[in-house]
């Protein structure tokens, strides 16, 4: 019996080969998209789960300022006084700033992005695999440094790195005492170098705040098994003020929550976008539903087409059980087949996950255990739905109507089909709108006035304790194609100094750029009021941006001082606000201090029009001459700001990609719908043509309904898309507006797609020779 049903099912699928391939292919693609997004979701949800103790590891943060960097000395306090704490470590993490690790003996150097400063406890808490070490603890001395295997290979080649000296950007000097394996890939932080933070020189941050000067750091605690984090929090907050650590209240966050928490804790740890993730999940579900609808329509209509066959089987003595078994088997074959294709497609696409999601998805055995049942469940659910629907439809007819090929109660059947189609169209229109808004926002962000002239503006990073700073400036200015150049400590995109200024309630943090001469000219920053720096002003004056003036609540800057050091800096002018962070955050208060800049870390160069490549070559040659052994690190300001949107761009690209899949699936739905309509109306079309209807009239008759449905879908989609995009734009400090034309255009596009799809089939139906279509009936 099973063999018999299998044969029938296979031959039936093969009979309508093109339709079957179309539907199953569409379903497989939809399913692959669903699996991919599912894996992405799983991967995002399990960030930091690679650390075995992640359930017990918590990060403390400054709850008042929502900042992860807190006083280093809290570490020792936690280790001693709290019963819940098993272990504690500081975790000073730097990323995004390029530091250079050097092996001075072999003259090898490499850029290092991820640097940690912590204590021996870190290795225990995070279960870091130390492959080689000098003694039983990774850090046995103050200048101890652990490095990753790949870095060891780059710097020391085949030699044994243990005990060797390491120079980090000329200001931190250590000895390699341990080699570690890479940290788990799916984590919020990485480590190429881990330094011993017992050594104060290895603490990378320093702050002046609340009358204190201290090294801020992230602090992670491992709680004892079963210990309640809230009780630790309560105990901490009771006493925290008495320790004068510049913290009013502490918050606590599990290691695995850092990535997707909606709390915007300022820290260097990678941060996911929970809202975007929600969008992805919604899209995944929509794609799954869209492709299921297509499949459902397909299997129901297939059963209709086979009504005669079923009738014959019933006369031959088939019981309901046999028929149900048969339908179930045919649907299962189709779905399982699609599922296998989808799995293969997913497996092929997985290596490109970095391009699709901007993140590599690692899929291991344990991930299979946790996601497998979900996917299997979905498959089973789809099989059940797709078998039950035709069974339900068939159960309403008796044998004689089967044998006469009766196609069911047309009105009723088509109403449910229409609803499904309208749903598909609604989803498509909403997705098209969303994609358009996303691109509009990206375009807006790209073309927003940054407040300074980013065109052909070059940034050269100067190494720490660089001896030839002034010579470099002069040589650069001597080059014919340099319009002007300027030294500074800090620049848009890299602010190193922050000070707390003002008093009481009006106190706020101000960002600081220490700039040399020609700063405003080179950067193209507009002076709104007052004057630029004059020669005698050095180390005495500063400029504020509009925001700083506003936060100070000064109406006039005359005679005011920026009080961040002894004597302070006299404010001589106000500059227009300019972006020195991404568009995600509003412009903060900023002061530009006129300085000799012996500690300059950036040389900004405004280049004249001309061949940029040639200009760069000359600059590079000059750099080689002045600073042998130092790598030439440069970037253009506009690239730098572009790269801040890299994440958004990648996300929008992948959203677009999945939206396209959804739209294609909808097209298939439309196609299937018009296909069936034409089939049902073959005779009607033939009769109309015999009676003198023109092709255009027949097409108009067939297309009219679709216009109506697109219109209904448009009305439904607008509020949904508006709400979703309104929410998404809240992520940005500077956002584009949701213009009406975006919605109109999306509706227009959907209408166009629908009509083109419909016309393709309706034209064929309308031009068919009526003799042929009438003979069939």
């Amino acid at each position: 019996m099973i063999r018999f049903n299998l044969i029938l099912a296979f031959r039936n699928l093969l009979k309508n080969r093109i339709y079957t391939i179309l539907i199953m292919g569409g379903f497989a693609i939809g399913f692959a998209a669903f699996i991919l997004i599912g894996l992405f979701y799983h991967s995002e949800k399990t960030v930091n789960h690679g650390f075995k103790n992640h359930r017990q590891i918590y990060r403390l943060y400054d709850a008042k300022n929502v900042r992860a960097n807190i006083h280093y000395d809290l570490t020792s306090l936690l280790a001693k006084n709290f019963a819940e704490v098993e272990d504690v470590c500081p975790l000073d993490y730097s990323s995004g700033i390029a530091l250079i690790a050097k092996n001075e003996q072999k003259h090898t150097d490499t850029q290092v992005e991820h640097i940690l400063a912590t204590t021996n406890n870190f290795f225990d808490i995070f279960k870091v695999e130390v492959t080689e070490k000098l003694v039983d603890k990774p850090f046995d001395r103050k200048e101890a440094v652990a490095i990753s295997k790949s870095l060891a290979q780059k710097l020391y080649g085949g030699e044994n790195p243990l005990g060797q000296p390491i120079n980090i950007s000329n200001f931190m000097f250590g000895t390699v005492t341990a080699i570690i394996n890479e940290l788990p890939a799916n984590s919020t932080f990485k480590a190429d170098i881990i330094m011993n933070s017992e050594n104060e020189k290895f603490r990378m941050n320093r702050t002046h705040s609340g009358g204190l000067v201290y090294n801020p750091t992230n602090i992670f605690v491992q709680l004892k098994n079963g210990a309640d984090p809230n009780s630790l929090l309560n105990n901490l907050n009771k006493t925290i003020r008495s320790h004068s650590l510049d913290i009013d209240s502490i918050g606590i966050q599990n290691l695995s929550d850092i990535y997707l928490s909606t709390l915007k804790v300022k820290s260097r740890h990678a941060k996911g976008n929970p809202f975007m993730l929600k969008i992805f999940i919604v899209i995944a579900l929509l794609i799954l539903i869209l492709s299921s609808i297509n499949y459902l329509n397909y299997s129901v209509s297939m059963q209709f087409a086979k009504m005669k066959e079923i009738g014959i089987n019933k006369i031959n003595g088939a019981k309901w059980k046999n028929l149900v078994q048969y339908i179930f088997m045919e649907v299962s074959i189709g779905v399982l087949f699609s599922f296998i294709i989808a799995t293969i497609v997913t497996a092929l696409a997985l290596p490109y996950s970095k391009i699709i999601f901007g993140k590599e998805i690692h899929f291991g055995f344990y991930d299979l255990l946790s996601t497998g049942p979900l996917f299997l469940g979905v498959v089973v659910a789809i099989i059940l739905i797709n078998s039950l629907a035709p069974i339900y439809v068939l159960s309403r007819f008796n044998i004689t109507s089967f044998l006469s090929g009766f196609r069911g109660n047309k009105n009723q059947k088509q109403l449910s089909r229409q609803l499904l189609l309208i749903f598909q169209l609604t989803v498509s229109i909403a997705l098209i709108t969303s994609v358009m808004v996303i691109f509009k926002q990206l375009n807006f962000a790209k073309h927003t006035d940054l407040g300074f002239n980013k065109e052909k503006l070059l940034r050269i990073d100067i190494p720490y304790k660089y001896p030839n700073t002034q010579t470099l400036l002069q040589e650069t200015n001597n080059l014919p194609f340099v319009k002007s150049s300027t030294l500074s400590n800090g620049c848009p995109g890299m602010i190193n100094w922050r000070f707390a200024v003002g008093e009481g309630k009006t106190s706020f943090d101000i960002n600081l750029i220490k700039a040399g001469s020609d700063y405003l000219k080179t950067m193209g920053i507009e002076l709104l009021d007052g004057r630029d720096f004059l020669t005698g002003d050095m180390e005495k004056t500063c400029l504020l941006n509009e925001e700083a003036l506003k936060q100070y609540q000064w109406s006039d800057f005359n005679g005011k001082k920026l009080d961040i050091s002894e004597g302070g800096y006299e404010v001589v002018g106000v500059v227009k606000n300019f972006m020195f962070e991404s568009l995600h955050s509003l412009i903060e208060p900023l002061a530009i201090v006129y300085s000799q800049t012996p500690d300059a870390n950036v040389l900004s160069v405004s280049l004249a029009e001309g061949n940029t490549g040639g200009q760069m070559d000359q600059l590079k040659r000059m750099w080689k001459k002045l600073s042998p052994g130092e790598p030439f690190i440069f970037s253009f300001y506009d690239d730098q700001f572009q790269s801040m949107y890299e994440k958004e761009e990648r996300l929008s690209r992948s959203v677009t990609f999945f939206c396209l899949i959804a739209i294609v699936l909808t097209c298939m739905g439309i196609l299937g719908h018009i296909f069936l309509i034409c089939l049902n109306r073959v005779k009607e079309i033939g009769i109309r043509k015999v009676n003198g209807a023109r092709t255009t009239e027949v097409m108009a008759m067939l297309n009219r309904d679709f216009i109506k449905w697109v219109a209904i879908a448009f009305l439904l989609a607008c509020p949904i898309a508006w709400y979703a995009m309104h929410k998404w734009l809240e992520n940005f400090a500077y956002k584009t507006d949701l213009s009406w034309w975006v919605f109109a255009a999306a509706g227009g596009i959907a209408m166009l797609i629908a009509l083109v799809t419909v016309s393709w089939q309706s034209w064929r139906a309308a031009t068919r020779n009526p003799v042929e279509s009438l003979r069939y009936e």
């Binding site: 029938l8 066959e309 019933k314 031959n316 003595g317 044998i399 004689t400």
Partner: protein
């Protein structure tokens, strides 16, 4: 074997009742061969469907093998299809996705017979109908007469006691039609009860008895004959 008493089939419209069958009485004995004749719309096919348990009468009683069929449930009717009744259609109604062999096998599969038994029985039938060479072909590769042969083979594969034929020769030309009728006659001689609907006077005469229908009413020719003789 079959007793119909006062069978009516009608549809109710808003104002009037349209009769398709009106007070039909018919008795068929085991081993009989009956032809039902009449113009289009007389209700022949409906009557056959009712006898074949494909449709239910609106009124009246129907006894099949002394069982009151009008009281049977859907599931029991399937059992009757499986064990007692075979069908032949004007349009053959073969399953296009199955080969000749598999088509004949269908009722045996539903009967739950083992593969070995099925093979033996299908082989017998192929042999008997002279279509052994065609067993792996699909229906559309056969001529109409051959397709109807397969249809008959399938109908009798389950060894039914009653064979219902709805215009079995309607789509065939005369030679093929004669071949089919010879086959039916032979089956009848072996003891099978056959009821056929036909338009063809010549083919109707293969039956022992002809009943004529018009406008839902049934006139039993044999009875009228007897009446006129008296």
């Amino acid at each position: 074997m079959i007793t119909l008493k006062n069978i009516c089939k009608y549809f109710d419209n808003k104002y009037n009742r349209t009769f398709i069958l009106k007070n039909v009485d018919l008795t068929v004995a085991e081993g009989e061969f009956i032809s039902i004749m009449g113009p289009s719309g007389a209700g022949k096919s409906t009557l056959l469907n009712i006898i074949g348990l494909l449709e239910e009468p609106s009124e009246g009683e129907y006894y099949f093998l002394d069982q009151p069929v009008h009281k049977l449930k859907e599931k029991q009717k399937t059992d009757y299809h499986r064990d007692y009744i075979g069908f032949i259609f004007q349009a053959y109604h073969l399953i296009e996705e199955l080969t000749v062999y598999e088509n004949i096998e269908t009722p045996l599969v539903y009967k739950g017979l083992k593969t070995k038994e099925r093979q033996a029985m299908v082989a017998d039938l192929l042999d008997r109908f002279n279509i052994v060479a065609k067993k792996d072909l699909f229906p559309q590769q056969l001529s109409g007469g051959q397709q109807q042969m397969v249809g008959i083979a399938r109908a009798i594969a389950g060894k039914p006691r009653l064979l219902l034929a709805d215009e079995p020769t309607g789509n065939l030309h005369t030679d093929q039609g004669r071949m089919i009728m010879e086959m039916l006659k032979q089956l009848n001689e072996e003891g099978m009860t056959i009821i056929q609907v036909t338009h063809n006077e010549e083919f109707a005469k293969y039956a022992h008895r002809i009943v004529r229908m018009a406008d839902g009413l049934l006139f039993d020719e044999s009875k009228t004959k007897t009446a006129s003789a008296v």
